[in-house]
Amino acid sequence: MLDDTNLAETTVANDDIKIAARDVSVYYGDNQAIKGVDVDIADRTVTAFIGPSGCGKSTFLRCFNRMNDTIDICRVTGDIRLDGEDINAKSVDPVQLRAKVGMVFQKPNPFPKSIYDNVAYGPRIHGLAKSKADLDDIVEKSLRRGAIWDEVKDRLHAPGTGLSGGQQQRLCIARAVATEPEVLLMDEPCSALDPIATAQVEELIDELRQTYSVVIVTHSMQQAARVSQKTAFFHLGNLVEFGETTQIFTNPKDKLTESYITGRIG
């Protein structure tokens, strides 16, 4: 199964739990999209959520930074803790949560501003830079981490929307890391990219693992196998199986998981 990918590299480096989700359910109106899911996201690890379309993996991901709050009819129940703190508590401001839990979206969505301003926006609104030089440093560091510095260093004031799709997505990653989050959520970050850009982003994700806890939603099982150490398989709003990526792809315990990764359902 999936012999072409290098599974040996993807060992879990860390067992500290960053996010603990217990009995999480999400409702869209009367329709239950997530049905009582328990997941532990480890620190400095890439966790992949896989599953067929409409299984709720993106919805679940958006619980971690409370992006579901922006949808009127959406209701989240259950308990999600970031470093032991309840993120849905009344005292938690979603704005502060999102500064700690960054997000990269499916479609590259740079602001229609310059590359510099795209990256500098987060630090600016969170007051991370004391001076212009500070801000310049943060922008450079973030663009380097987004593996796009060399391509854009000469045109920082060109519009971010003028970049190619892959560059835009890496710019969005740079923008997300500029606020120095602790967790990075990625919602199908490569689905709009070609294979070369995908490879670049995947390489980047692997580097980001040194610093952050990364959660990635993906349609591509190969991608999950390539970049993640842990994999969760969702089906119809249920978490079917959660474990080390190696184990999920080589020795799935659940019949459903096996049929999905071998391509019989999905």
Binding site: N65, M67, T70, D72, V95, Q96, L97, R98, A99, G102, M103, V104, F105, K107, N109, P110, F111, P112, Y121, G122, I125, H126, P159, T161, G162, C172, R175, A176, A178, T179
Partner: protein, 442 residues
């Protein structure tokens, strides 16, 4: 044809790519026809536009010129003192004027009999004008001074060809003999057409003096009204739309508000006029005929337009931009003000300019709150108190002129329309420039 028969058909006859099938030909013909309709529609609208512009300009241009009697005149100090001693002072000045006129006729080699009465019929009471001038500028005594005295509206009409000798009816305002004098004055260069600055800068005149009527005061009135409308309806409208679009919960109540806003946009403007009269003037006791009240009424009228177009342009901003901002920890307000609003700005400006243009051309509500007619008191000193001083507005002024009996006011009405259109164009150009500034590529 059944499947079986299709299968048994040996093979399709080979056709060349160059041969157009009937279906293709019909399709192409339909496309050609559609394009022709489109070009026809544009041609028709262009034709009407040209006719409109042409007729406005042709009818409106006479308003910008004025028929004057240009008389070179010297009054010595002696004559001045002499005239001031007399009982009928202005009559004395008229006498001096007639002497000067005779001299100019002789110089031009024209001889035509005239008396003080005919001069009065042609140019009004000239003596008074001259006396006024020298009493205010005594240093001009003894110096040659050129007087430009406005001709009466009937002379103006005759010079502009609105009637000829054949269609002329004699009256106590102008007699047939006076026409000879007018012709003589024209050939000797005493009567001429000059640019009528008073029309652009002046205020409205009485019904018997079309020559002195100007649209300036009502331009100022319209300007102040537009300021009120802009500074009230833009912030209120944009704030209301942002709240409704981005923050308000979606429930019955907000649905009701939405429906009502859409309905308000279709309410006839005269209804807003009655409302303004009842609320702003009768209840709140704001000054009548003031641009402030006019602006308030027009703000009510403009708000729905601005709210609807602002909401549409907020909706058209891709949600991915909102997500992006929220995703890096911007608050909802930051996301809206830093990212959504700038992108919606071109649409908001378009809506605003449409609303303002509507408001600028609105007459009916202004009639009800009294912003019409001969009300420009203290003009031009009244400028500083422009918001509460009684004034008129351009469309109301045009309406007033068009309703007056003297045909010369008809020219003024057309001229007023030209000024109104220039005002509108200026507004639109400013809006376009602002839009260009705000427009961003994706």
């Amino acid at each position: 044809m059944s499947d079986a028969s299709m299968n048994t058909t040996p093979s399709k006859a080979k056709t060349s790519l160059a041969d157009l099938s009937d279906r293709t030909r019909r399709r192409n013909a339909a496309e050609k026809r559609f394009q022709a309709y489109g070009i026809g529609a544009i041609a028709i609208s262009l034709f009407f536009l040209i006719v409109l512009v042409f007729s406005i300009v042709r009818s409106g241009l006479p308003a910008f010129t004025q028929t004057v009697l240009d008389v070179e005149f010297v009054l010595t100090e002696e004559q001045f003192n002499d005239a001031e001693k007399q009982l009928f002072k202005t009559k004395a000045y008229s006498g001096y004027f007639n002497d000067a006129l005779t001299a100019q006729f002789t110089e031009a080699g024209v001889s035509v009999p005239f008396d003080a009465k005919s001069i009065e019929r042609i140019a009004g009471k000239v003596g008074g004008t001259i006396r006024e001038f020298y009493r205010e500028n005594p240093d001009q005594l003894g110096q040659p001074t050129s007087f430009q005295l406005a001709a009466s509206s009937r002379v103006d009409a005759y010079i502009n060809g609105r009637f000829t000798r054949d269609t002329f009816t004699e009256s106590r305002f102008l007699m047939a003999a006076d026409l000879d004098l007018v012709d003589a004055m024209k050939t000797s260069g005493i009567i001429k057409n000059v640019f009528n600055w008073n029309f652009i800068t002046g205020a409205d005149s009485g019904v018997d003096n079309p020559g002195g009527a100007g649209i300036g005061a009502s331009v100022v009135g319209s300007f102040f009204m537009m300021l009120v409308v802009l500074f009230l309806s833009l912030p209120i409208g944009v704030a209301a739309s942002i709240y409704l679009e981005e923050f308000a919960p979606k429930n019955r109540f907000t649905d009701l508000i939405e429906v009502n806003i859409s309905n308000l946009a279709a309410v006839p403007s005269i209804v807003f006029g009655i409302l303004g009269l009842a609320v702003f003037i009768q209840f709140m006791h704001l000054p009548q005929s003031a641009p402030l009240v006019g602006g308030l009424v027009l703000t009510l009228m403009t708000l729905p337009t601005i709210i609807i177009s602002t909401r549409a342009s907020l909706q058209s901003v891709p949600p991915s931009i909102r997500d992006a901002a929220l995703g890096i920890g911007a608050s909802k307000m930051q996301a809206v003000f830093h990212h959504v609003l700038p992108l919606a700005m071109p649409g908001i400006l378009t809506g605003t300019i449409i609303g303002l243009a509507q408001a600028l051309g609105e007459t009916a509500p202004l009639l009800l709150i009294g912003m019409v007619g001969f009300v420009a008191r203290g003009y031009p000193e009244g400028f500083v108190n422009g918001f509460v001083e009684p004034n008129s507005a351009m469309p109301a002024q045009i309406y007033t002129w068009a309703a007056r009996a003297d045909a010369s006011f008809y020219d003024k009405a057309w001229g007023g329309i030209i000024i109104l259109l220039i005002f509108l164009l200026t507004m639109n150009i400013i809006a376009i420039i602002l839009r260009r500034r705000f427009e961003r590529r994706w």
